[in-house]
Chain length 140, copies 3
């Protein structure tokens, strides 16, 4: 992971082998980020997507990307859960037929690179586990 500051936050560039969610969590910890939003594109492998199943209040998971996939869109934010940084990201990934899969992003390892523009805010977003849904929702 390489980072460079700009006027509003960071340009984050992942190298092949860097896992995206863990990298952003590490950056949030190092830079003490409490509130941020981001968009990203790139190429990834070993992708784990999630779907929150309300009947079981838990995430279904699907593994993709034994082959490299385009990271077609990633939109997400950084917040805090029990004081620890937490990354919330949804993504679409595309295969070599340009077919697209998408959901909550649990994991994506850069196969080539991932380019992330992170907008940092002064505040802090707090998440808390919501027993009604099984998700960690934002408390405002």
């Amino acid at each position: 992971m390489k980072i460079r500051r700009n006027e509003t936050g960071f340009l984050v560039v992942l190298d092949a082998g860097d896992e995206m969610i863990a990298s952003l969590r590490k950056l949030a910890e190092a830079e003490r980020i409490g509130e941020a939003s981001f968009t990203a594109i790139g190429a990834v492998r070993d992708v784990v997507l999630g779907y929150i199943a309300l009947e079981s209040k838990s995430y279904l998971r699907r593994e993709l990307g034994a082959d490299s996939m385009e990271l077609v869109s990633a939109i997400g934010n950084l917040a805090r859960l029990d004081g620890e940084p937490v990354v919330h990201c949804h993504a679409t990934v595309g295969d070599r037929e340009m077919r697209v899969y998408g959901g909550h992003l649990f994991q994506a390892v850069a196969s080539v690179t991932v380019e992330i523009f992170l907008r940092v805010y002064d505040g802090e977003i707090t998440r808390r586990y919501d027993p009604a849904s099984g998700a960690n929702t934002i408390q405002l």
Copy 2:
């Protein structure tokens, strides 16, 4: 809907049951927003997607989300049409197989939550009905 100001606009968090397009229109009205852009992720139901059919100059519609769906990506903007706030949003939604559907977003009701980062600008974007396409396009 809960909102919190940040340096550049608002963090908007929808509660289960809040409809996204109507909520953003209400916020634009209350805060007198004339120009804004946003990204959002979440989980939604009762989704109505659109496709503009140029041969009929009108939108085809498809209803999805009897079951909850991941709001995988939402990108949009706020403008004015005849002085009234208007939300333009395109979205992809994902089902429990991580299959994705997408188009113009007419409606999406939060099934768990929707997290929206809204960037507000000082200006005002004006839309006008374009008889050539059937869409309300931006006049600059």
Copy 3:
């Protein structure tokens, strides 16, 4: 292409017939932009999507959009390669069944309009050809 400045960069609105990647490259050249990020939505035709195939270190291409398609999401950035402006954009496009295709965006011609919010930064991002992947990656 019409453009209007806002506090952080430009609102760019493409007219029917404008090609998106070439338009953004032209804007980057005219405005001497070295670093920017953007999101966009609209309706497009003559779309060329790409997938980087690591075994051949080259992009596979797929043409879509003989019929108009929704530009459901476009996320990208502007940088420089050998001093020349370069646009990197990934996109999902949707057909009249709301099925979605996605990948690296080589080309998309506005069929109705494309609405782009471009965030310009003071810095300059440098890309260089990476022989290991066949992509032009960011050098930080």
